[in-house]
Symmetry: C2
């Protein structure tokens, strides 16, 4: 593993990760504070990445994202390949310029979306043939095409093409087969990747089976990726099942110098638990999606703003919150906007949940910096418990 | 008329209007530069008021409005009476606090909406009985209730309850009857209005008939209103018909010291023409509505951003425009957002058309200030001609 890593000279690496505060020697937590330097800026970890599927985080502008505290966002390779097309974005100067976001971006590989199409796709060792969800047209993704699309988009971090499977409802044979294919594709993704100012992360699969998960982690960690994604979780598994699989992977990666990114996790309780188990990076549509449905996250739990009780409530959604919504407007006003189906409702609610999530991560980082994470864990869990009810809904 | 005006001491007036540059003595234009001081600030005229029907200008935040240059907005009494309710807004501290807008607001009387309900309303001399467009429930508006609702909302300017009729398709008898009723209701609105920090504007009706229009202007100008609305236009009439009716009203009001507000007009060509004929204030949903449909206004005419030709166009919608859209994003990006039905599309497009409209009014004011309006008229008309094509679509 170390020899493979040595092939890339550190000084020219497009992703320089430094662990500023390692987990304590007493083993009370695997949580760590880090700093990830990318082409477009520095990302402090643990960190949450808002999802900008169509080169826009739904309802927000780049200024809204900056104000919420986002330092890195994720964009979806599958969606941008189909519309407006990666070659078009490349001609227009790349994804950063296209969406006017000058901070780091990570693109996923499209594997999750393509493989999730169910009846509309067919997987073989060479790649995946699928039908577009937009117009039913036929397409084929291979590791090489996924990398080419991501190089055209020009994100700071690209991700190897993989085959995730539903962790809890897949047979061991299916999980093993998908992991085998993911490993083949990891090597082909690495071989295909040329863009020098773009990092490439590999993806660990292996479902919930400790043996398969460990085997996958060992295989992917042995390749010269710039970071390690833990895929195939945040699916249909329980939190306890996820914890076991996560611990297996992190234990294998314990002495690995690269950042760990758990794909697809978004509720505050889940984020906190995964940080505690040693994860550095996260992404999810959850905070934004529930916001557009009128669910606001606060330290005291969720608010469903469509509930009649808020129609006359002149308090902000969260006292002392610095977001656009809470600084200016009452619960009653937001309730009115949702009832009237006014567009401003979705922006204000998304600003709040995004600010809440990013502030929660910042508080986690502050406790890691001051060495009080383990001591703060019960208080952080209490805050997350209110929010945890959201994730379960 | 002057005696009626004298009943209100000038120093305590909730609307102090000053004509800074009167129309030139040569009669080449009736356009004038003015300054209207209201409870929440000063409005330079000629001025356009964005429409915030449900206590929000669709797709924009108060910051967006300020950045676009809005100094006064309009909110709809009918809509806010039905939802969330004027008493609720009053309990929550009034409309300004409710929607976090600290600059002037004008509320209309609800007359236009109530009378536009067609089969769902019945008009008599006492008021209008109508069914809610939201749930079919029965309601009755009278001049007294309209004023009570507007006092509860607490706008800087309230408007007398009136009965507009479609100007071109109504019989002379219907127009005369509606004007008679509007005059009755003007007096009752004045008698009912008590809120000291709120101005009250009267509404001139009289359709397209010069005699009825002049009679209505004379009657309403004889009452101690703080400003004069010219209603019952911007409907099914031609621009030429509107011009005739407008000239009749403005001629009658020539020596009147109060601001003139033409209700419901919004295309740049129409605004320019009405300024030229002596109008000070305007409102319309047009710039925002066409923006949400993907029509962008520029000095060279309209852009329908859904047109395939813009998919690869990396230029801003309008070169040199200071708006949120043009400062940051390409036509190609906006075209993508509209195709993907992303919420940011509607905000960006609305920011542009609103900025364009308010900048156009600012340029008109600048030419009035420098005494070059008549000289600039052909250039302003050329810019509006591109935009005029929009208003005709």
């Amino acid at each position: 593993m170390t020899s493979a890593l040595d092939e890339r000279p550190v000084e020219s690496s497009p992703a320089r990760f430094e662990v500023l505060v390692p987990p304590p020697a007493d083993g009370s937590t695997q949580a760590r504070l880090g700093r990830l330097a990318l082409s477009h800026g520095v990302v402090e970890t643990p960190q949450f990445m808002p999802v900008g599927t169509n080169a826009t985080v739904k309802a927000l502008s780049p200024d809204d994202l900056r104000e919420a505290g986002a330092t890195i966002i994720l964009a979806n390779t599958y969606h941008l390949y189909l519309r407006p097309g990666h070659e078009r974005i490349s001609r227009l100067g790349g994804l950063h310029r296209f969406m006017a976001w000058d901070r780091p971006v990570l693109t996923d590989s499209g594997g999750f979306q393509v493989v999730s199409l169910g009846e509309m796709r067919k997987v073989d060792d060479q790649g995946v043939t699928f039908q577009s969800h937009l117009d039913g047209s036929y397409h084929r993704f291979t590791p090489e095409l996924s990398i080419a699309v991501q190089e055209a988009l020009g994100a700071d971090i690209a991700v190897a093409f993989d085959q995730p499977v539903p962790p809890a409802s897949s047979s061991r044979a299916d999980v093993a087969e998908a992991a085998r294919r993911t490993h083949l594709w990891a090597e082909r993704s690495l071989a295909a990747h040329k863009r020098p100012n773009q990092a490439l992360f590999g993806i660990v699969q292996g479902g919930l089976d400790p043996e398969l998960r460990e085997e996958s982690a060992r295989f992917v960690a042995g390749l010269p990726f710039d970071g390690i994604c833990i895929g195939g979780l945040a699916g249909d598994e329980t939190a306890a099942q996820r914890g076991v699989a996560l611990d297996v992977a992190v234990r294998l990666l314990r002495d690995d110098p690269r950042p760990r990114y758990l794909m697809g996790l978004g509720s505050p309780a889940d984020l906190l638990d995964a940080v505690h188990r040693g994860v550095d990076l996260f992404d999810s549509v959850l905070p934004a999606r529930v916001a557009r449905n009128g669910q606001l996250w606060t330290p005291e739990g969720r608010i469903n703003i469509r509930n009649a009780r808020y129609a006359d409530d002149d308090r902000p959604v969260q006292e002392g919150c610095r977001c656009l919504l809470c600084r200016n407007f009452s619960r009653a006003y937001l309730a009115h906007l949702f009832r009237a189906e006014e567009l401003l409702a979705y922006r204000l609610a998304t600003c709040h949940n995004m600010t809440f999530t990013l502030d929660f991560m910042a508080d986690i980082r502050a406790s890691l910096r001051s060495g009080t994470f383990s001591a703060c864990l019960s208080e952080l869990r209490a805050r997350a418990a209110g929010k945890g009810r959201v994730s379960a809904s």
